[in-house]
């Protein structure tokens, strides 16, 4: 069952990526699939609608649950899925109280955070709004804002 859900998630991601202008070959490389499998998916073959429905429901969870579930299913490969299928974009604001301890960078599953000059920096392209970084920040220096 889990691998069917993963297929569903990969399908949704492939559809978005194609919509964003990527070629099937590029999508296959990003999702680590055969190009032929990508083509089958896009043509509605080798995939049940049920898997796709369940995957769609998962992408509509709150960002934290979407991320944690997808990460449990796909580990590092979850990043591109969550990035592509997220409904919103997010921006991270780091306050002056940041001490550069690096906990957020370590804990971020999307690998969206790096340290620069002892201050955290969040990449909006990858931030999925899960707020896990904010919860673990010892100085409460992270604010995540949804970009409409």
């Amino acid at each position: 069952m889990p691998k069917h859900i993963v297929s569903g998630l990969k399908y949704l991601t492939a559809v978005e990526l194609i919509r964003d202008g990527y070629s099937q070959k590029e999508v296959a490389k990003i999702l680590e699939m055969d190009r032929s499998t990508v083509s089958h998916y896009l043509n509605g073959r080798n995939l049940s609608w049920n898997s796709i429905e369940i995957a769609k429901i998962i992408t509509e969870f709150c960002p934290k649950d979407f991320l944690i579930l997808t990460y449990a299913l796909m580990q590092e490969k979850a990043r591109i899925v969550v990035k592509t299928c997220s409904n919103s974009k997010y921006k991270g604001k780091i306050k002056e109280s940041c001490i550069g301890c690096g906990l957020c960078a370590d804990i971020c599953l999307m690998k969206a955070i790096v340290l620069n000059d002892l201050k955290a920096q969040i990449d909006s392209n990858w931030c999925c709004g899960c707020l896990i970084c904010g919860e673990s920040c010892p100085t409460n220096s992270i604010e995540i804002l949804e970009v409409k």
Binding site: S97, G100, G102, L118, T139
Partner: protein, 353 residues
């Protein structure tokens, strides 16, 4: 979602580390720690606790001077930067943050200029942390004296008076028991010309005037002497792991060969009325700043505890340990490299009291 730290304890030292995107390590060496508590003050998550340093240092209790809670510690490295004696080392991916520009450093140093140093060893004796080692090579005694000595072995009666009187142990008589075929009491008398200083005591004390000797130092001395032969050479070494930059070497050096740069500027105040002369501050001070003065004039009591701020590094250990709050340490300036992080600048600045 938890990334937890691991803690390794070895005797009184500890190592806390976390491995994820980077490997962060905090290493604590208890024998370097001076109990100033600056790490405890600075820690942004209150993970560090200063122990009862008075009891620990004075009674030799087998207890570390600080304890760090690995569940609270976030491995930011602040304690390592503010520690005035480098008892806390912080590494990211096996590189010390001392080598990273984004981290501020406290500025301090202690150096001995080998060109000016005369290897008198005063600094080595004075250093309260035994951090200084001076190695010296003395000049050749034989090159600093000039003269002649000759013992007439025919006249010599082997009495041994010259051997006993010689202040430089330069005369050796090979004593032996006489035998019928060789009825003498010694087989040879030898003068070690490397040791002889031509003081002529042997000549003056010889009962049979067997010694011919002359000292040429007064008339020839300055001409015979090569200035290079009079110089003591050597080398100096300061162990920067244990050195606390107190300045004793700088103050005691008779030729100003030692230079010390201190991190903190400040003031030390002792309230002599409140002080009960328990000696905790004297025992805890890593820099020999404090002492119980000896009375020189009967009936005139000196201060209970005296201090010399020349050697003070304003660490505040005495302030921490005083049971009756009779000592106050103020820090007015902190010498450090800059950092772009506002929170770090603020924490370092908060060390001013």
């Amino acid at each position: 979602m938890m990334i937890s730290n691991t803690k390794e304890v070895q005797a009184l030292d500890f190592e806390i580390s976390r491995s994820a995107e980077e490997k962060r390590e905090l290493l604590y060496k208890d024998d370097i720690c001076i109990g100033c508590g600056i790490c405890e003050k600075t820690c942004p998550v209150d993970a560090i606790e200063l122990g009862s340093i008075g009891a620990i240092v004075r009674t030799g209790a087998d207890v570390p001077k600080i304890v760090c809670d690995e569940d609270k510690c976030v491995l930011c490295g602040m304690c390592s930067v503010v520690c005035p004696v480098d008892a806390l080392e912080f590494k990211i991916d096996d590189e010390s943050i001392k080598d990273m520009d984004e981290y501020p450093q406290l500025i301090n140093s202690a150096e001995i200029n080998d060109d000016t140093c005369i290897y008198c060893k005063a600094c080595e004796t004075a250093c309260p942390r035994d951090s200084i080692t001076i190695a010296r090579n003395l000049p050749d005694r034989s090159k600093l004296v000039t003269g002649e000595i000759d013992i007439d072995k025919e006249t010599c009666i082997d009495c041994g008076i010259c051997e006993e009187m010689c202040p430089a142990d330069a005369i050796t008589i090979e004593h032996k028991l006489p035998t019928p075929d060789d009825p003498t009491v010694s087989s040879d008398i030898i003068v070690d010309k490397d040791k002889c200083v031509y003081c002529l005591i042997c000549k003056k004390s010889c009962p049979v005037s067997a010694i011919k000797a002359a000292c040429r130092s007064c008339s020839y001395g300055e001409y015979d002497l090569n200035p290079e032969d009079t110089v003591t050479t050597g080398s100096s070494f300061i162990d920067h792991e244990t050195c606390v930059k107190c300045g004793w070497c700088q103050e005691i050096c008779p030729v100003d060969a030692a230079t010390v740069v201190k991190t903190f500027k400040g003031e030390l105040h002792i309230d002599q009325d409140t002080c009960q002369a328990c000696g905790a501050c004297v025992d805890i001070c890593p820099c020999n700043v404090l002492s119980f003065p000896q009375s020189t004039v009967p009936g005139k009591s000196p201060e209970k505890v005296m201090s010399d701020e020349n050697y003070c590094i304003y660490c505040g250990a005495c302030d921490n340990v005083c049971p009756v709050k009779a000592i106050e340490v103020k820090r007015t300036d902190i010498n450090h490299t800059p950092t772009k992080s506002k929170s770090w600048e603020k924490q370092i600045d908060s060390l001013k009291t």
